[in-house]
């Protein structure tokens, strides 16, 4: 699953809205540990994400990077330490979990669109039933985001009728319809045909330009260079190294990072 490519989008990125807040914390992970029964999968994770930050998490498969972002919206449970999202600490309290999930969008490797619903229904379901937005308004918002991901003409089709790239763009639009404050991307381009990677990255860059707080687990190093303001390298369930992309790629410090980069960059 881990094809590595250097897809870059050939245009100047508009950085005017891409400011990172100095004071507002979006996500705070403090001394966090997680086990899968006896396996210590995440070890002593400390990560503070400021509002407006664009973070790329890289690392070999099995390093715990997906597990980490899945902990941030509690698709996975952590056993020790704290995770605080938008000021709400994640505990077993279902109310808090729902509160956090309403504000955190997630995009999956395998899209996970609802195959029995049309594209429009996929987009409006959560706004209507979670946020209580009237149907007409939800549909208007949905069409707005479909236009933004450039597939408004697909609104009444079913997911099975769309290409992989289109499905992933719908999945992004579906998250955006909930107007989240934070977006999590779990290898959004890894399951796509090479020809479709670019169209999805375009949408993600557009989001970054709007100032969205994003954490992306991805092997798209071109994207990391162009968009991220911080790259995190993980291995064996821990954060090994993090830095600004320029320094991360040109001057890695840890031996493990050097080895990883030497294997994926040619």
């Amino acid at each position: 699953m881990s094809q590595v490519s250097e897809t870059t989008v050939a245009r100047q990125i508009d950085t005017s809205h891409m400011q990172v807040s100095k004071t507002e914390v979006a996500i705070d992970v403090i001394n966090m540990h997680k086990w899968y029964s006896d396996f210590h999968v995440l070890r002593d994770i400390n990560l503070r994400v400021m509002k407006g930050e664009r973070i790329v998490i890289a690392g070999p498969s099995g390093s715990g990077k997906s597990t980490l972002i899945r902990c941030i919206n509690r698709l996975e449970e952590h056993q020790e330490g704290q995770i605080i999202v938008n000021g709400t600490e994640l505990t077993a309290d279902l109310k808090r979990i729902d509160e956090v999930r309403r504000e955190v969008g997630m995009v999956f490797q395998h899209f996970n669109l609802f195959p029995h619903l049309t594209i429009l229904q996929n987009l409006t379901l959560a706004p209507i039933w979670v946020r209580g937005i009237p149907k007409a308004e939800a549909e208007a918002t949905a069409m707005h985001y479909l236009e933004r991901v450039k597939i408004p003409e697909q609104a009444n089709k079913y997911p099975g009728q769309l290409s992989g790239g289109q499905q992933q763009r719908v999945a992004i639009a579906r998250s955006l319809c909930m107007q989240p404050k934070i977006m999590l991307f779990d290898e959004p381009t890894s399951a796509l045909d090479p020809e479709m990677v670019k169209e999805v990255l375009e949408v993600m860059i557009g989001l970054a330009e709007d100032g969205m707080t994003m954490i992306c687990v991805t092997h798209e190093m071109g994207f990391a260079r162009q968009v991220a303001n911080r790259v995190i390298f993980m291995d064996q369930g821990q954060i090994i190294e993090q830095n600004e992309p320029e320094a991360f790629f040109s001057n890695p410090q840890h031996e493990r990072t050097k080895l990883f980069l030497s294997q994926i960059l040619h």
Binding site: N73, L75, G105, N112, A126, W129, V130, Q161, S175
Partner: protein, 375 residues
Amino acid sequence: MTDIGFVRSNLVEPRPAPVRTSGAIAWAQKNLFSTPLDTVLTILGLLFLAWILPPLYGFFFGNAVEPNGTVEQCRLDNAGACWAYIAAEMEFFIYGFYDIPEQWRPNIVFALGAALLIPLLIPKAPFKRTNAVLFLLVYPIVTYFLLAGGVFGLKPIPTEKWGGLLVTLILSVVGITLSFPLGIILALGRQSKMPIIKTVCVGFIELVRAVPLITILFMASIMLPLFMPQGTTVDKFLRALVGVTLFTSAYMAEVVRGGLQAIPRGQYEAASALGLGYWKRMWFIILPQALKHVIPGIVNNFISLFKDTSLVYIVGMKDLLEAVKTKNDTALEWQSANTATTGYLFAAMVFWVFCFGMSRYSIYMERRLNTGYKR
């Protein structure tokens, strides 16, 4: 050595598929006589049909006694099916011992049921929600008071007198409409993370599934009253209804569980990540997909239930089959060689019509709901 190089100079446009050879002769050659073995099998098959069809035709139509015929005709040596007997006893087969002057009441129930159910089954018919509320909430109440009487000056008719197709249909319709949601709840409970709910559901399913329906009916009708306080009685019909419903719901739960297991984890996760709570997740995302996967199994259960209703004879109720059997045994004035056979054939045909109807409708529904792979 440069032979392997190739560059296409003009793209091939799509063109229509070649016309298929058709016609009766081509079809027969392909399907009936393509090899010597096929030819032999075809001839054997035709001989078998020639042997079996004429007598069957003779029994059902040729030599059969028409509905307006007499018993004397049925007693002739070469007489076929005695449809006259069916026609004469039809009322008993439909209503059992229900008072004859009051039979307009079940008739209204039948008509009302059809009027409410048919638009519910047609996807394009309007007012689905109102229709469903009427059918699921209002109709059962109306049906109960209309059939049982005792209100609005209607003569009370105890359930012991209900019988025939009326009983079969009430048991099946109530059993189906109650066991379906109950089965879904049990299936969800079985997957629950809460230990008490899970244990109760697993216990119920495993207990009920491991016991024959006859035992449950028998328990409900004979054992249950022993445990009840003195003086309280629960209607026998109601007890059978509860027995059939609980029995089917346990099976339904396992079918639904199969469907739930077929749903990829990503669907649960995507729904959770959007902030949908447990019940909304199940209602909007998981169940619509899971149930669609297991329509054949669900309908299988409906059909089983429909046929199993005939087991209520064990607690002394006269469903359609038992009504037929009763008449076969007691209607001395209709005694003839083929009377009993005709009676059972009639019962079989009625069962078949309903079950086949359910089967066809489920196939239609499967096709209609097959959006996941729509191209």
